[in-house]
């Protein structure tokens, strides 16, 4: 078999565009997912029963449904909800934020539960309300404790964004896939993007280690 790598440099512009979309989708989904996931975690741990039931229902549904189904599902349902076509890219943003929130929720929940009850007592005893206690005492510590898990989940998320190609969105993999079929360079293209995914993921996981030692709380 004859491999032809010459088309790769020519494809670099298209790949770069796709790459930018992958990154911005990852960044948005991670940020929105962590914020939403934190709210969900607080709801799950709430003593208000209906609230914790809704939150745990949310988490269980998304954690037991394959991502690719959720991607299709939102693509079909979202236009009905907002009353107009939404497009593959926007649909992907919404889907990933909502889907990832379920995973980030579980991480934040573990983080919150890792804070000793005495810290909650101490905050309350100083007169903090529930909200102030969460904001100033519990969440900052919980967040620091789970930064490695959050970043690891973000790396998985980055790889999972490649699934949006099923909607025809041109993320990194979608762009590669289109060129691969056009130029009949399947193997070359797939190897190239695999290397890119690997390098980014590897770089991020090194960052995880570095950050962890930097922000760990002095004990």
């Amino acid at each position: 078999m004859q491999l032809d790598w010459s088309s790769i440099p020519r494809a670099s512009n298209a790949l770069w565009e796709g790459f930018q979309f992958s990154i911005s989708l990852t960044a948005f989904a991670a940020l929105a997912g962590i914020i939403l996931g934190t709210l969900l975690a607080m709801a799950r741990l709430s003593s208000i029963k209906p609230l914790s039931m809704i939150a745990s229902g949310y988490v269980n549904i998304f954690r037991s449904t394959p991502l690719v189904i959720v991607i299709y599902w939102f693509y079909v349902v979202l236009p009905f909800i907002i009353g107009r076509p939404i497009g593959a890219e926007h649909s992907a943003y919404v889907t990933f934020a909502i889907f990832e929130a379920a995973y980030f929720c579980e991480i934040m929940r573990a983080g919150i539960q890792s804070i000793p009850k005495g810290q909650v007592y101490a905050g309350s005893a100083l007169g903090f309300t529930y909200g102030q206690n969460m904001r100033y005492i519990i969440l900052p510590q919980a967040f620091r404790n789970v930064v490695p898990l959050l970043l690891t989940q973000t790396i998985i998320l980055f790889q999972d964004t490649s699934l949006v190609y099923v909607l025809g969105a041109t993320d990194l993999f979608g762009a590669a896939d289109k060129i691969a079929h056009r130029d009949n360079t399947l193997l070359e293209m797939y190897v190239t993007v695999a290397v890119i995914y690997f390098v980014i993921s590897f770089f991020l996981s090194r960052l995880v280690k570095h950050l962890h030692s930097k922000i760990a709380i002095i004990r």
Partner: protein
Amino acid sequence: MISIKNVSKWYGNFQVLTDCTTEVKKGDVVVVCGPSGSGKSTLIKCVNALEPFQKGDIVVDGTSIADPSTNLPKIRSRVGMVFQHFELFPHLTITRNLALAQEKVLGRSKDEAMTKGLALLERVGLKDHAHKFPGQLSGGQQQRVAIARALAMDPIVMLFDEPTSALDPEMVNEVLDVMVELAQEGMTMMCVTHEMGFARKVAHRVIFMDKGHIVEDCAKEEFFGDLNSRSERARHFLSKILQH
């Protein structure tokens, strides 16, 4: 100042507190002692509503804790509390530990909170440690910061839950000294402690608890003066902790 009236509390079927009644008057120093599991921590946590109770009432400076319309964070902000395990906030520097609640709860300015915090830090002898993190201090130092943090809120009463029992022996006195000084300045205090030297020195009253009941509640002189008229359980308990 604090009036505890017929308080009972259950964890499920297990009754932790049974019909507890006592009073802490302004300027009083009351020491609470008793065997492990007798409900001392639970009782003291009921006073600032960190633990809910099912029966009775506690009135703090005229405000009923059991009344559902009471603003609990507000009443808690006026009651200082010091914990066995210090519970400084490990992610904040000592200065932030001292200033945070002053700013967010009392609405003091950053400068005001900082000045007040530093003054109290100096008072507990730790001025040089202002910019460290709690994890960089010894247990005794952390507990002194915790006392300063509580005092920064200008509390009307201070609650202590075994403030020295997690400390290495050589650090106990540096914390007790701060507490003695507070007591001598007239601070109203309710202290769960087994430090009978402290009780002898500054307490006005001693409460002895056993199995969720307040068994003894009398003046210090009476409590230590005439051991033979104490209850069986109290005598047994005292004989064990007064040995050393």
